[in-house]
């Protein structure tokens, strides 16, 4: 495939806003998951919440998009000078030559959850100020970002549950390779809502404690929220140290709606496809950022897949213990975390994991190690059996 340069990138999660707090949290193995009450949910749970969203003001000309998800989208866009770098790219290429491809699982559905509580008792009508198109609809967050930059290129939201914002990297590569656009804003935005908290609880997949990926006592996910963006362009200006997207592998489990194939066959095929796409072999990969949600069956299936493709000595870890599971934003967030570890030259140890499950064979890192890296792989798997593996590489000196 065409390698693409991440010419700018940023992220916001429970660890903080922008790259610096994330690099620091990964190095020091600091987590952002806390137990608290949230919204009207009638039980406390452990979550990775982004601080300050309630006080964030949507740009006044875009007030019709106001909801928690778009506030998070805007707050994250304005970190690390990302928005300025996008405007420069729009200046270079023109507004119709920049795509917006974002991943989200629930977009701003929280706004409809609240609106349903305020239906007119007689007519059943939703409050007059409820804006379905700009807040709830799956596309709303890409529509918001497209308007934020006054763009006129292609746009969509990919919504394949927890692989959503990994898959946008593949979609962007296709559009740029085919010459339909010169650059793409990719990433993911997903925010806390009742649907996911009550939904994952109904499946008994939420841990009562901060999640513990690959731990012998792991017992479920911690739901998080976050946003991540990358500006992807052809690698003309790549320099030593530039971060490149070099491989994408997408497959389907064709097995079950909410459980992974027990041997991780679809995950295995996605990792193999990403390697093939990058022209790399398993031995070239220096680190894997696991999907690692900390449910018993997900981690076991991923472990089987990773060890089948890479053996049992390749360092890997999940950063869900740091950020919580940010669902549709997880692929994008973990892509940027991969860029951070490639740039900083370290392998991040997990957070929350104390006693590795002896039944799992992968080399899961309990402590951060400083080491230069060349190629890393990131896994994202979702409901419906949707699998995506990405490979990121650091341009050699």
């Amino acid at each position: 495939m065409l390698a693409l340069r991440l010419s700018a990138y940023t992220l916001t999660s429970a660890l903080g806003a922008g790259l610096a707090p994330h690099a620091d949290a990964l190095r020091r193995q600091r987590g952002g998951i806390v137990r608290k009450q949230w919204e009207t949910i009638d039980f406390a749970f452990c979550m990775g919440e982004v601080a300050g969203l309630d006080a964030t003001a949507i740009r006044s000309d875009l007030a019709r998009f106001d909801c928690r998800n778009n506030r998070l989208a805007q707050y994250a866009l304005e970190q690390d000078g990302f928005a300025e770098r996008v405007r420069e790219a729009v200046g270079r290429y023109g507004p119709d030559r920049v795509a917006v491809l974002l991943g989200s699982s629930t977009s701003g559905i929280l706004s409809s959850e609240i609106a349903y509580r305020h239906r007119d008792p007689a007519s059943g009508r939703l409050p007059g100020d409820h804006r379905y198109r700009e807040t709830h609809n799956a596309y709303s967050v890409a529509d918001f970002v497209r308007h934020y930059f006054d763009l006129a290129g292609p746009a969509c939201v990919i919504s394949t549950a927890c692989s959503s914002s990994a898959k946008v990297f593949g979609a962007a590569e296709r559009l740029i390779a085919l010459g339909l656009v010169d650059a793409a804003i990719v990433g993911g935005v997903d925010s806390l809502c009742l649907t996911t908290v009550y939904g994952f609880s109904s499946l008994q997949l939420v841990s009562p404690n901060p999640c513990r990926p690959f731990d012998a006592d792991r017992d479920g996910i911690s739901i998080g929220e976050g946003a991540a963006y990358a500006l992807l362009e052809r690698p003309h200006d790549a320099r030593p140290g530039s971060i490149l997207l070099t491989g994408v592998g997408e497959t389907s489990d064709a097995y079950h709606m909410s459980s992974p194939h027990p041997e991780g066959l679809g995950a295995r095929a996605a990792m193999t496809a990403a390697l093939q796409c990058a022209g790399l072999t398993a031995g070239d990969i220096d680190y894997i950022n696991l999907h690692g949600t900390a449910t018993p069956s997900n981690d076991a299936a991923e472990d089987a897949a990773v060890s089948a493709v890479f053996g049992t000595r390749l360092p890997c870890s999940s950063t869900k213990g740091h950020t919580g599971h940010t669902l549709g934003a997880a692929g994008g967030i973990e892509a940027i975390l991969c860029a951070i570890v490639l740039d900083g030259g370290f392998l991040p140890g997990g957070v929350g994991t104390e006693h590795l499950d002896p039944r799992l064979k992968s080399h899961y890192l309990l402590a951060t190690e400083e080491r230069p890296l060349r190629h890393v792989l990131s896994n994202s798997f979702g409901f419906g059996g949707s699998n995506c593996s990405l490979i990121f590489s650091r341009e050699a000196a």
Partner: protein, 264 residues
Amino acid sequence: MSMDAIYLDGISLLGPGLPDWEEAVAILCGDKPAELAPVTVTAPALLPATERRRAGTSIKLSMAVGLAAAEAAGIDPGGLANVFTSSGGDCENCHHLLDALASSERMISPTRFHNSVHNAAAGYWSIATHCEAASTSLSAYDASFGAGLIEAAGQVLTSGAPCLLIAFDTAYPEPLFALRPVPFPFGVGLVLSPTRGAHSMATLGLSLTRDPADTLSEPPLEQLRREIPTARALPLLQRLAGGGAGRVVLDYLDDTRLAIEVGG
């Protein structure tokens, strides 16, 4: 800038008064009047019994048009990469979840929850057809058909393999229906291929344009085009039904539209 042309190998359509592609051809060509009759969607036998019970209109509709398009192309859907595009996915299921979350009990069923993901239809499709190939599910509100066609064409041209596009929309019940009034279920399936084959009907060359979108002269069809995101495809379908070559412009995003050069 245009993308390279791709081949259309199979087509299907299911909408009001448009029960399949063969009948739709006569209506789109003006040989039969367009009448907006209610849509009947049945669960395909391919879906395992448990899944069939859990399947709502969106799953049945998407599967029906997907299977019909693959059959028209003479291709096994089990090996086909696929792109699902829909403005709202399973809107009925979404309403039931929102209703439950607004109640004092807030009990939601695990099945309703896993059916709430936008890629639920794609998940059921992969299970029913045993398809392990790449699958994407996307939305672009009213531009969902155009966004799906661009993504599917991109898959075909970069992978060198055929791809199935399944575009569908269903309606929310009230109260969301008032804010998103999709009048009828509507689904379109297209099998796209990088090379000419025995079933190839036409070539399609995509580019973006600012030109106005084509409209339909028959009021019932034009009403569908305006009110259902997937039915934004109708000017293309009409051109294909007539068998003629030429340029078609479809509504896409705001002032950005999708031009399609249809060739023989």
